[in-house]
């Protein structure tokens, strides 16, 4: 089985919070004003945040999981 989730490039992130507003699962929080932190347990990798991020610093990751 594979799981999709997103990963944030912390160096490019402006921590504006546009992604966390967009996330339908409330899986993104701005960690202490430094960067967007994704809760990988909640994230389903829909990519809404990646499309919103003005810095273009969110990418969708696909990982194979052993079930």
């Amino acid at each position: 089985m594979s799981k999709r989730f997103v990963r944030v490039n912390k160096n490019l992130c402006a921590s504006c919070g546009a992604c966390s507003k967009e996330c339908p699962r409330n899986a993104i929080n701005i960690f202490r004003g430094c960067y967007a932190a994704v809760d990988e347990k909640l994230c389903v990798g829909c990519g809404l945040c990646a499309r919103t991020c003005p810095a273009g610093c969110i990418e969708i990751i696909l990982v194979e999981e052993d079930s």
Binding site: A14, C16, R51, P54, G56
Partner: protein, 192 residues
């Protein structure tokens, strides 16, 4: 899943109200200091970007407009615009221009210069704005600051609107001087 809206989601109205008030009476431009001081207070004492994340009317306006009117290409901005060099360079430029506003107000205060009742867009184009200064019972230096500050706010809003249309809605947020400044503070507070 639709998110419940709170009154905090309507703060984009503040951005519009601010410019309308300033159009009729320039002294209202002083209210823009709220947008300067609040983010810094949150960053310095709270170590967070609560202002950018929840309160910034400008950010809300930029994300709301393209949703309603489809006026954004949605393309990622070019790399140089998103780079740290540009962010920090823009912050430095912005601060120098802000200092200049204070300096001009100081000159008017000291009587070395007379009040210039116009606003300057993009630090270049002078636009007469004399109708907005009728409350003559306020000192002239405060009006000079208001004209300068209103120019700064309007110019940055216009830059924000342009990049909103050309690229993604909240592209302004990437190099917003207040955002950059508060992020530097937050990163400093949470270093190590």
């Amino acid at each position: 899943m639709k998110k419940n809206k709170s009154w905090l989601d309507y703060l984009w109205l503040w951005t519009i109200i601010y410019f309308v008030l300033g159009f009729f009476n320039i002294l209202f431009a002083w209210l823009g200091m709220i947008d300067f001081i609040l983010p810094l207070l949150f960053a310095i004492f709270g170590g967070n970007k609560f202002f950018c994340n929840k309160l910034c009317g400008r950010g809300q306006l930029f994300s709301m407009l393209p949703k309603k009117f489809k006026c954004s290409t949605g393309k990622t901005a070019p790399g140089w615009l998103l780079s740290r060099y540009f962010k920090y360079g823009f912050l430095a430029f912005f601060m120098i221009m802000f200092m200049n506003i204070i300096y001009q107000s100081w000159l008017v205060f000291g009587g070395a210069k007379s009040l210039n009742e116009s606003i300057k867009l993009f630090w270049t184009f002078n636009i007469p704005f004399h109708w907005a200064y009728t409350a003559k019972n306020f000192p002239e230096w405060s009006a000079q600051f208001a004209f300068g500050f209103y120019s700064l706010m309007l110019t940055s809003a216009l830059i924000g609107l342009i990049v909103m249309m050309l690229y993604r809605p909240r592209t302004w947020c990437v190099f917003c001087p207040m955002g950059t400044m508060t992020q530097i503070i937050c990163r400093y507070k949470n270093r190590g």
